[in-house]
Structures are given as structure tokens and as C-alpha cells.
Amino acid sequence: MRADRVRMLRRIVSAIRAVAGMPDYDAYVAHFRRCHPERPVPSERLFYDQFVESRYGDGPTRCC
């Protein structure tokens, strides 16, 4: 029951973050383990840095 609620809350939080354009670190870790099992998983700090760089690196993300 409690675990359900925690899971629900995490889903809501990650949805709100996604609206602002921020991808989910846990999902990234899952993806990374699946596709690159031989490499060490980047830390959350590194993940955030790379995301910020790529997000604002090219093309407009905001409109008039």
C-alpha cells in the first residue's frame, strides 16, 4: 500500500519534471544498463550537466 503510494508520487513528480523538459534520471539509468551494460552508469550530476548542455545547446526551446 505504502509502496504503491510512493510509486504513484514518483510518477507524478517525474511527469511534472518532464513537462518542464527535464528527463528522468532513473529512466536514464534503466536505459543505460539495458543498452550499454559494459560501461559504468554516469552519475546524476553528470547526467544533469549533459542534459542542460544539450537542451540549450541548439535551436530555440521557447517561443514568442
Binding site: V19, G21, Y28, Y48, Y56, C64
Partner: protein
């Protein structure tokens, strides 16, 4: 059967609301009718027209894997559920445009603007967003410029990119001008907006250094601090020692915004730009929901006439007749070329299923149009006299409430000087006269709605909340826009001398940032010192440029359709393209060559020259005004020329394909079957 009945009721409801709008001329009606007519039309259009586009015209196929699935990397190619992506896409496309444009266009009355907002979006704006999102999704998330290059040739690609850069300059200038007009001589507003900078930096350190990636925590803290600074602004405005410190004139504010834009563009993104972006995204979505709720709760009566006498082109807010200027002025709420950049940016990389593009591309734009309808309601619920007191240029109104009331009575609207000063006092400002740009009248309208819904005594707080909310995301557009402009410029000059193209090389970064900031800064200062109030010349220029970009996007869309062998459906983009071209080229031509000095740039230059000859104006000022007029004329002509070239190049391509002199093949990514369970 039941479902069909529901759609019938919905359609009739919308049509009925339009009927009420059409028949109740000359009497006050409730804003609810406007909202009902709009929503009814949206739902019917979404159900039928967008389905036709999705199934027949584009042939969306859920068995085809999207880029988010094929290229998943957990960072930008991330499969995202559709309602979350809808929110994300909407937050990215909605900005100040749909809020400011309708407020300015309310000069013609609420009806012409509303009709264009609603039918324009259904037939043109949402189609453009949808087709570009579709095209980009089928091409691994390529940008509009890349698609133009691949489908219609390198020249078109370069032209499209130049157009984007030039439009960016005008866009940033006019948005910054809106902020300057809203904040001038307003210590409360200036204090609150200044506070957003340290708040954003604090959030930046929070997310980067202290608690990496904790976006929500930091944003929560940011929003709380923002509200505190909003409340604190009142004490600043009432304090005899602090108020003068934060009372800035328009030119001072203009230079401050320019300096801010430059600093934000060269600082690391995580420190200022990214946290501000989060803050403004959450504020934007929250406030728009609040406004929608407020309108439904209060259902304010619309005091503005359905159609005013200013359709003849004599309006004080901006010059020009209903056709074409209502369409130019509404801008983003009905069709916005800029969306083509977002729809070919982050969103196509996040779609899980092809069919989701319908809700997100078409539906997202309907939502933006709904924001424009709400802005129209907020402007039209004001007394027309008050509306014109806020939006007409100071030079027309004279400096005092008494002179303004006199002038406005001359236009046939009743207003007393006491009403004008009383309203300013009510929202906690010294004066609201001559604050063209839409933000203040929208804020007064929003303050009416929100204080009506949540308590009258909070009126000044709601007014400054609305000002802060607009200034916050306009400045976010200014800093992200400057940065994007800087990257584009670096890419262009990188072809000339390679080191200048390195975006991480500091000298190049500083030079390119200074060039972009200098570009829009020049137009901003020009607007601030313009005797007619800069909105009069800059907003139409922005409207024209934005819709010309839409014409470029619709050309790319048409090319995609024709090359995919769907020429029989090309009308869905050719129709809007023809209309947008007609409107913008007429407006551009009039802005340059019209005989009326209020409307035509060249006529205004001639008028200034005459005044100079008569000794009525000092030579230095005259020279500057004449130069600015000619510059604006050249800019308008350049926009028109670039667009005509793009259309001509595209048309040539269409003819070649249709006459089978060129193979009808599109450069789509190959089909891959999805691994998701059907």
C-alpha cells in the same frame, strides 16, 4: 450513436454561441459566450479536421517506430506519454505573443480578433504546427532549416535560416519593449523582476552544485521566493527611501534589459538561463490555468464594443485598417511561424506513437489559441475608455489624466479623469497612461478577473502578479532567444573564418553575443524613443516577420505533401499559405509605402523632413528618426523578399515534381516496425 449525438450537441453549442455573438451587437454580453464559441469550434475541428489530416493526409501509422523509440538515449530522445508531452510542447510554444497580440487587436473591438483567433488556428495555425511536427518526426527530429534544405534545396535552407535570425532580432526587440513599457516608473514591478535574477541564480546552484538535478525542489523554493518578492514589492513602492531607487525611466530600463540579455547569453546555461526557464514554465502553466478558472467563475461582461470605429485605420494603438492589420497584430494566437522551430526541435524526439502527434501538434496549438481568446476577454472586459487610456501613445493623450479623458471622449468613449487615476491607485501604480504593449491592460483585466474570483482587496497584488508573470517569461524568451541567435550567427560566420564558429571559444562567444544583443537592442532603444510609441512600428514588423516565417513553414509542409505523392491534399497547406502571403505582403507593402505618415515608414520620414525644414524639430533628432524609418522600411522589404524567394523556389520544386521531371521521393527515415505492443 450516443457519441454522435454528443458531437452534434457540441457543434450546435459552438454554433449557437457564435450566433449569440453575432446577434447581440450594441449590448453587453458575457465573456462566457466567447469562450463557449471558441471551445465548441476547437472540439469539432479537433475531432473531424485533425483526424482527416492524421489519417488521410499524413497517414500516421502506429506500427512505425518513432525517433524516440529507435534512437532512445535517455536524454533528448525520450519516449514520453502524450499528456505530459502535450504540457511540455504547450509550455514551449506559448509565450507573450498570444497574450499581447489580442490585447492590441482589441482596438478593433473583440469580434474581428476572436473570429481570426478561432478560425485561423483551426484552418492554418494548428495545421502548420501539425505538419511540421509530422515532417520532423519522420526525419529523426530534424529542424525546419534542415528540412527546407533537404526537401527544397540548399538555397532555401540558407534563406530560411537567415529569415529566422532576422525575425529573432525583431521579436526580441518588441518583447523587450513590452517589458519596458510595463515596468517604466513602476518601483513595485522593477523590484519584483530584479529579484527573479538572484532567485534564478540560487536555483541554478541548487540544481547544479548542492542537489544535482533536483529540479522540482529548486523550482518550489524559487516560486516561494518569487511570491515573497511580489509581496515585498509593495513595501518598496510605498517606502519613501526605496521607491526612488527602483523607479526607472524607459531608456534606463531598456539599457538594463540589453545588459541582462548580454550577460545571460555568455554565462553558463545552468547558472541563470535553465533555472529561469523552469521558473517561467511552472508560472506560465499555473497562471494560465488560474486565468481560465477565473474567467469561468466570474464570467465578466465584455464592455468593449464588438466592432469599434477604428476598423477604418485611424486607431490610436497602431495604425492600419482591419484588413490586413487585425491578422498581423493577432500574430501567434492564430498562426505563428515560430512554432515551426519548436515543432521541429525537442518535441518530435519524444513522441511514443505517431498518432500522438495529432493531440500534441494540432491540439497544442488549439490550446495556445485558447490562451489568446482569454487575453481577448481580459482586454474586452475593460471599459473602452480605460483600454485606450492605457494603450494609446502618451503623445496622443497628453501627459495628464484630464487631457487623456478629453482625447478619449473625442473618440466617443466615456471616461473621466477620476476613473483613470482611480484605477492606477487601485492597482498600486502612479499612472497607467500610455503603457502600450498589451501587458498592463492584460494585467488590469486579469486583476479584475482574479480579484473577482478570489477577493477584491488583493487587486494591486494581482496586477503585479500578472505583470511579473508576463515579464518573467518574456525575459526568459529574451535570454534563450539571444543565445539561440548567438549560435546561429556563429554558425554563419564560422563559414567565413572557422574559429568564429566555435561556440565554446570565448572571444567568439562574446563577439557574437554582443552582435545579437546590439541588433535587438538597437530596435529596442529606437522603440523606446519613438514619438508614436514604438509598439506602433515594431509590433506590425514582428507580426509580419512571424507570419512570413509561417509562410516558409507552410512551403516546406506543401513540399513534403507533394513529394510524398499527396498532391491532391496539398490544399490543406496551400490555402493557409495563400492567405498568409496575401495578408503579410499587403501589410508589409502598406507599412513601407502608405501615404499616411502614421502607417507608412517612408511617409513618416518625409513628414519628419518637412518638420525639419520648418524648424519644428531639432536636426539630430530628425536625422535619427529618418534613419530609423528607412531602416524599418528596408527590414520589412527584406522579409518580404526572402519569403517571395522561398515561395518561388518551393513552387519550382512543386512544378518539377508534378510534371514528373523530378522523382517524387521524400527524405524520410526508413520504416522500422515498432517493438511496442499494439
Amino acid at each position: 450513436m450516443l457519441l454522435k449525438l454528443a458531437w452534434l450537441v457540441l457543434g450546435l453549442g459552438g454554433a449557437g454561441a457564435w450566433g449569440v455573438l453575432a446577434l447581440h451587437r450594441g449590448e453587453t454580453i458575457s465573456a462566457a459566450w466567447l469562450v463557449l464559441a471558441a471551445v465548441g469550434t476547437y472540439l469539432v475541428a479537433f475531432r473531424f479536421y485533425s483526424r482527416f489530416l492524421a489519417d488521410r493526409v499524413f497517414g500516421l501509422n502506429d506500427r512505425r517506430a518513432t525517433p524516440a523509440e529507435r534512437l532512445a538515449n535517455g536524454r533528448d530522445f525520450v519516449p514520453t506519454t502524450r499528456w505530459v508531452l502535450f504540457g511540455h510542447h504547450f509550455a514551449a510554444i506559448a509565450g507573450a505573443g498570444p497574450l499581447v497580440g489580442p490585447v492590441l487587436a482589441a482596438q478593433f473591438g473583440y469580434l474581428p480578433g476572436t473570429i481570426w483567433i478561432v478560425f485561423g488556428v483551426v484552418l492554418a495555425g494548428a495545421v502548420q504546427d501539425f505538419i511540421i511536427l509530422f515532417g520532423s518526426m519522420r526525419r529523426d527530429g530534424k529542424s525546419l532549416g534542415q528540412m527546407a534544405k533537404e526537401e527544397t534545396g540548399a538555397v532555401t535552407g540558407v534563406l530560411a535560416m537567415l529569415a529566422v535570425l532576422a525575425i529573432m532580432v525583431i521579436l526580441l526587440a518588441v518583447l523587450a519593449l513590452v517589458v519596458v513599457n510595463a515596468l517604466k516608473d513602476s518601483p513595485w514591478g522593477v523590484f519584483t523582476i530584479l529579484c527573479t535574477i538572484p532567485i534564478a541564480v540560487l536555483m541554478g546552484f541548487w540544481m547544479k552544485v548542492w542537489r544535482p538535478g533536483r529540479t522540482l525542489e529548486a523550482s518550489g523554493v524559487g516560486v516561494v521566493l518569487l511570491m515573497a518578492s511580489l509581496v515585498g514589492g509593495r513595501y518598496v513602492a510605498e517606502s519613501a527611501t526605496l521607491a526612488p531607487l527602483f523607479t526607472w525611466s524607459a531608456p534606463t530600463l531598456a539599457y538594463a534589459v540589453i545588459a541582462y540579455g548580454f550577460i545571460a547569453s555568455v554565462l553558463p546555461v545552468w547558472m541563470l538561463l535553465c533555472p529561469r526557464d523552469y521558473l517561467s514554465t511552472f508560472m506560465k502553466i499555473g497562471t494560465i490555468l488560474l486565468l481560465a478558472f477565473g474567467i469561468l467563475l466570474v464570467m465578466p461582461p465584455l464592455r468593449m464594443p464588438a466592432i469599434t470605429r477604428f476598423v477604418d485605420g485611424t486607431g490610436p494603438v497602431f495604425a492600419g485598417k482591419l484588413f490586413p492589420f487585425a491578422f498581423i497584430t493577432i500574430a501567434c494566437g492564430a498562426i505563428s511561424g515560430f512554432h515551426a522551430l519548436v515543432a521541429s526541435g525537442t518535441t518530435p524526439k519524444m513522441l511514443i506513437r505517431e498518432s500522438d502527434a495529432r493531440l500534441i501538434g494540432y491540439g497544442g496549438m488549439l490550446m495556445e489559441s485558447f490562451v489568446a481568446v482569454m487575453a481577448m476577454c481580459a482586454a474586452a472586459l475593460l471599459d473602452p475608455g480605460i483600454y485606450f487610456a492605457i494603450n494609446a501613445p502618451l503623445a496622443t493623450l497628453g501627459g495628464t489624466a484630464a487631457s487623456a479623458a478629453e482625447v478619449i471622449r473625442g473618440w466617443g468613449f466615456t471616461v473621466t479623469p477620476e476613473q483613470i487615476t482611480g484605477l492606477a491607485r487601485e492597482v498600486g501604480e502612479q499612472s497607467l497612461l500610455g503603457r502600450a504593449g498589451g501587458a498592463p491592460s492584460l494585467a488590469v483585466g486579469m486583476a479584475h478577473i482574479l480579484s473577482g474570483a478570489f477577493g477584491r482587496s488583493l487587486m494591486p497584488l494581482w496586477y503585479h502578479f500578472a505583470i511579473m508573470f508576463e515579464a518573467l517569461f518574456i525575459l526568459t524568451t529574451v535570454d534563450t532567444g539571444t543565445r539561440v541567435g548567438r549560435f546561429m550567427l556563429q554558425e554563419v560566420v564560422g563559414h567565413v573564418w572557422e574559429p568564429l564558429g566555435r561556440t565554446s571559444w570565448y572571444p567568439s562567444t562574446i563577439l557574437a553575443s554582443a552582435a545579437v544583443v546590439g541588433g535587438w537592442g538597437y530596435f529596442l532603444v529606437q522603440g523606446v524613443t519613438d514619438p508614436l510609441g514604438g509598439i506602433n512600428s515594431l509590433w506590425p514588423l514582428f507580426g509580419i516577420s512571424n507570419q512570413l516565417l509561417a509562410a516558409v513553414a507552410l512551403c516546406v509542409g506543401t513540399t513534403i505533401l507533394i513529394k510524398a505523392g499527396k498532391a491532391r491534399y496539398a490544399g490543406v497547406t496551400l490555402g493557409p499559405l495563400a492567405w498568409v502571403l496575401l495578408v503579410t505582403l499587403t501589410a508589409g507593402w502598406q507599412k513601407v509605402f502608405a501615404d499616411d505618415p502614421r502607417l507608412g515608414f517612408l511617409a513618416h520620414a518625409a513628414q519628419v523632413t518637412q518638420q525639419l525644414a520648418a524648424g519644428a524639430i531639432e536636426p539630430a533628432r530628425a536625422a535619427r528618426l529618418v534613419f530609423n524609418d528607412r531602416l524599418d522600411a528596408v527590414v520589412a522589404l527584406a522579409f518580404m523578399l526572402v519569403t517571395v524567394l522561398v515561395v518561388a523556389a518551393s513552387a519550382r520544386e512543386w512544378v518539377l515534381v508534378l510534371t514528373r521531371r523530378k522523382p517524387a521521393t521524400v527524405k524520410e527515415a526508413p520504416f522500422v516496425e515498432t517493438a511496442y505492443a499494439g
